[in-house]
């Protein structure tokens, strides 16, 4: 088994509808994502999944000095930011890519699949 991070992206500041055109569309997508998460659990692939609050609510902490230095906002400047993610276990990349395709369909956005380092 290998462990993969599946990330979804969104703008720095999420709107009330999280980029969905209507409330119905948002609820439909959330229901599909919930069903996808259940399938992951049934298949024994699910490790963790959740959505994040807007990137503008992030704080960067640099604790290398005597006193921690705090900076308001996300670490990297970008057009889009991490908006949510899954951590899954899969036997190989082919399986992970198939699951990512299902997740992408459910959450209505592209999904980045990245393996965890094996130390």
């Amino acid at each position: 088994m290998a462990r993969y991070l599946m990330s979804v992206f969104g703008p720095a500041e999420q709107t009330e509808l999280y980029g969905y055109p209507t409330r119905e569309a948002m609820e439909e997508s959330m229901a599909e994502t919930g069903a996808f998460n259940e399938r992951l659990q049934e298949q024994g692939c699910f490790v963790f999944a959740d959505g994040l609050a807007s990137a503008t609510t992030a704080t960067v902490v640099d604790g290398r000095g005597d006193e921690p230095v705090l900076t308001d906002g996300p670490y990297l400047e970008s057009k889009e930011y991490l908006a949510g993610f899954w951590v899954i276990d899969a036997p190989d990349l082919d399986v992970a890519l198939k699951l990512a395709a299902e997740g992408s369909k459910a959450c209505r956005g592209p999904v980045e699949v990245r393996p965890f380092a094996v130390m």
Binding site: A2, Y4, P91, L93, D94, L97, R114, P115, A117, V118
Partner: protein, 411 residues
């Protein structure tokens, strides 16, 4: 045969097999490649004095296996002793032939995995399956050696870290994944067929021949796959025309003006036989003909004609209609228009060509220019030739377009 020739021959015949079997055994593409290369280096050193062994392929496999085990043993002294013992126990695996061939197929599918960038797939396939060196691949694609080396290193690292599987895909994914492998092989072939290097050779037989060699291998491994047979047939019939494709003055010679006696008759026969076998299989209900089979059938029609006037153009147009259904791209529509010009005349064809949107595609302007020339519209033809010349990157093609443009002046 000299020892040097023997080593070259063994390298061609056995490289992919050895890399593939080591990859399966040790689960590490990097190690497999390095140890196979090392085994050949040992052969270069020893065979001139010791003589070529009676079974050179087995000698290379054994040497590569032993070196891999030595390497792993050195690296894992602190690791599990039991694993070490197990590896030593299985020193020279006696694999049944079928499984060994599967290994090479697994290797091809891993190297052409869709999660790798196309350039990485091409470089990795030529290195791991073709056995080409990094400098050879770099010079074939006119890119710096460092870039090719980096592409291959990164691809191998991704295969390992992301766990790209080393196996033949499941039945439901097999057709799509096989198409992916064929795309890589066709890309290698096309770069040889019409080189995009304006300063270099116009036709690169090193690349076309390597692509054919690898497609032959894939056809041997997947003999019932119609598209693999189709691509092989297509490449063979295109390669057959190579001696007639570039004139003595370095100009690209179009199909209608080629000296058909210069075509390689054996390659034509082999390609046509593959097409006939596929036509019979499809007629007997073995799936539908895909893109490469249709293209191969078209080439069978062309190579069956004594000359351009003898060509069965209605058959060619019918095959293009079939191709348009599989691939409704403007490039296919453009090529179809060329065939329509022979069947229904240049006016009908020009109307089709003018409907297409292909910005920056030199062939679009070249085809328009030829049709306008045939309709006697010289000024428009000249402008279209100029545009095509400006866009073409192939030297022999530019020479041919320039001549056709200059012939207009006399008209």
């Amino acid at each position: 045969m000299s020892v040097g020739e023997a080593i070259t021959r063994v390298h061609r015949a056995e490289w992919a097999r050895v890399v593939a079997s080591l990859t399966r055994r040790f689960g590490d593409l990097d190690l497999a490649e390095e140890m196979t290369a090392e085994a050949f280096a040992v052969a270069v050193e020893r065979w001139p004095t010791d003589g070529v062994p009676p079974n050179p392929g087995a000698w290379i496999t054994t040497t590569a296996n032993r070196r891999a085990i030595d390497r792993l043993r050195r690296e894992s002294r602190r690791d599990d002793k039991q694993q070490e013992a197990q590896m030593l126990h299985d020193d020279v695996p006696a694999e049944p032939r079928g499984a060994v061939e599967d290994d090479r197929l697994r290797l091809m599918f891993a190297c052409c995995h869709p999660a790798l960038a196309m350039q990485a797939r091409v470089a990795l396939t030529l290195r791991m399956v073709g056995g080409l060196s990094v400098p050879q691949i770099a010079s074939a694609f006119l890119v710096p050696e460092a870039s090719v080396g980096q592409r291959i290193t990164r691809a191998k690292a991704k295969i390992k870290a992301a766990r790209i599987p080393y196996r033949v895909p499941e039945a439901e994914d097999l057709p799509a994944r096989t198409t992916g492998v064929l795309t890589v092989l066709f890309l290698v072939f096309n770069e040889g067929y019409l080189s995009s290097d304006p300063a270099g050779e116009s036709v690169r037989s090193d690349l076309t021949l390597e692509a054919i060699r690898l497609t032959r291998l894939l056809h041997a491994l997947l003999p019932t796959d119609g598209e693999v047979a189709g691509l092989l047939a297509l490449m063979l019939m295109i390669e057959a025309r190579r001696p007639a494709r570039v004139s003595a003055t370095g100009e690209l010679v179009s199909l209608d003006l080629q000296d058909r006696a210069a075509w390689d008759a054996a390659l034509v026969r082999e390609g046509q036989a593959l097409v006939r076998a596929r036509v019979a299989a499809v007629a007997a209900g073995d799936g539908r003909a895909g893109r490469f089979q249709v293209l191969a059938a078209m080439n069978a029609v062309h190579t069956s004609a004594r000359d351009v006037t003898d060509t069965d153009w209605s058959q060619v147009v019918r095959l293009y209609d079939q191709l348009v259904r599989l691939d409704p791209s403007p490039v296919v529509a453009l090529n179809r228009a060329v065939a329509v010009a022979e069947l229904d005349g240049p006016e009908v064809a020009l109307a089709l060509v003018d409907r297409l949107t292909l910005p920056g595609y030199h062939a679009h302007h070249a085809v328009r220019a030829d049709l306008l020339r045939r309709l006697g519209r010289s000024a428009e033809a000249r402008a279209a030739y100029e545009t095509a010349i400006g866009l073409s990157r192939n030297r022999a093609e530019t020479a041919s377009l320039t001549r056709r443009r200059d012939e207009l002046a006399g008209a």
